[in-house]
């Protein structure tokens, strides 16, 4: 089996513009940045959340807190994932009670990651509201979960994979659609 690149979905400037648009949408819909916090899901949700927070500083002049959440311990497939998935540290240094939280991730697919993330969040307290922001929504949901803020909807087949490459982690920046072929 080989993995081939089928299409580029976003270039680096497009990723940037999309994140700015998402920042505006969130501030508009929530009506400001008071009690607002972003929670980046490890790994690629973290730089995305940081960049959205940076864009919000330009809008409202306010530093929106950014938390880091590793969902490995909250997964529902302990017996199926590669053995001993490496745990990364979560870091949510603010209280979540009565906060307006926005979970940030790169790709929304089955919804299981978001289910796990919500379990993790509720171990920390009782937020007022939790919404979801993703760069790409590729469909194929297995949970009743939807994103309120979506960078782009992409129709995909089961065999396809969306790769979000970010300069903070991957040393290049673009979103590509790849496929597995025999």
């Amino acid at each position: 089996m080989r993995i081939v690149e089928k299409a580029q979905l976003m270039s680096a400037p497009e990723v940037d513009r999309t994140l700015h648009r998402l920042a505006h949408e969130i501030v508009e819909k929530i009506g400001g940045t008071k009690n607002l916090a972003l929670i980046g899901i490890v790994r690629r949700g973290v730089p995305l959340a940081q960049r959205i927070a940076q864009a919000m500083r330009g809008i409202d002049g306010v530093d929106v807190p950014v938390g880091v959440l590793d969902i490995t311990l909250y997964r529902d497939d302990l017996s199926k994932v590669a053995p001993q998935a490496v745990l990364r540290s979560s870091n949510i240094s603010f209280g979540v009670d009565n906060m307006d939280l926005v979970l940030v991730d790169d790709v929304l697919y089955t919804g299981r990651t978001i289910r796990a993330a919500m379990n993790g969040l509720f171990d920390l307290g009782r937020p007022k509201r939790v919404s979801l922001c993703v760069l790409i929504d590729r469909g194929h949901r297995e949970m009743p979960i939807e994103a309120q803020y979506v960078g782009r909807d992409v129709q995909t087949s089961d065999t396809e994979i969306i790769e979000v490459r970010l300069r903070e982690i991957d040393k290049e920046e673009r979103v590509v659609l790849v496929d597995r072929v025999e």
């Binding site: 089996m1 993995i3 790994r43 690629r44 590793d70 490995t72 311990l73 909250y74 997964r75 497939d77 302990l78 017996s79 199926k80 994932v81 590669a82 053995p83 001993q84 998935a85 490496v86 745990l87 990364r88 540290s89 979560s90 870091n91 991730d105 790169d106 790709v107 929304l108 697919y109 089955t110 919804g111 299981r112 990651t113 978001i114 379990n119 509720f122 171990d123 920390l124 307290g125 065999t159 994979i161 969306i162 790769e163 979000v164 597995r180």
Partner: protein, 330 residues
Amino acid sequence: MTHRFRDLLALEPLTADELSFLLDQSKPFQEIQRHPLKKLATLRGKTVALAFFETSTRTRISFGTAASRLGADTMNLQAEASSLKKGETLLDTAFNLNAMKPDCLVMRHAASGAPSYVARHLDIPVVNAGDGTHEHPSQGLLDALTIRDRLGTIKDLNVTILGDILHSRVARSNIHLLGKFGCRFTLCGPAMWVPRELEKIAPGTPIRCVYRIEEGLEGADVIIMLRVQTERLDDPPLSANDYILLYQLNGERLRRANSQAIVLHPGPINRGIEITPDVADGPRSCVLEQVTNGVAVRMAILYLLISGATETDAHPALEAQPKESTNASD
């Protein structure tokens, strides 16, 4: 970077890389100790057998708490109530526990090597919770984690271990772990407990034995106290008063160590015997952090061993992933 462990029987055979991995993987569990809700569902439906053939309070409670915070259930065997008293062999007891289908066996035994012996006959992971005078791996790890948190590193430190080192599995686990990171050891205590042969237990690690506490504390970054087993003070004869006079760690003696030096003790402490209350409760003391970190380290151990042992087929989404990418596993 990941490592796989089938069992955790000793720290001596592990590499610095593997030990660092175990310490790093304990960090997320340290955070969970600070959460208002500390219970995870990660190991829901799994069972941890706690077999303490030698009595223990804090290690047993610590492993039990670690298991329950991961969502696992526990089954308990305690020496006093066990059928060992009725003449069952160690292996028969282990086979019987295993027949109740636990996913991991945590075991303490008075005989060095007993957990390794049992592990060779069982197909589930075995964790050594202290065996004779051999090792106490989870204690060694929680001590290193505590030192790393306080001093920012475990590399190239001067470590002084005080007390009955001859009979201490804690001291051996500390030496085998910290020695791999370039630490230098000074072992200090009455000559009957600090024989010169101890200088050779970890080839490549500088170890020296000294018999005057003032000399032992000079230049120390870390002081690891061991509990004086008062039952051992009579044989060979050394009165508690003599021990206090010669080896008690008090505020004045502590001044000989480095100004940032920290004091560890695996507990239970004998206040007024090996350590004075002003040191035990002072800012240099890490005793209670050690206890908190113990739960985190044991959660990491149970998580790594049990999740590693339950590997079945790879997740279809992960299987197709190029290396580290995680988005398709959503």
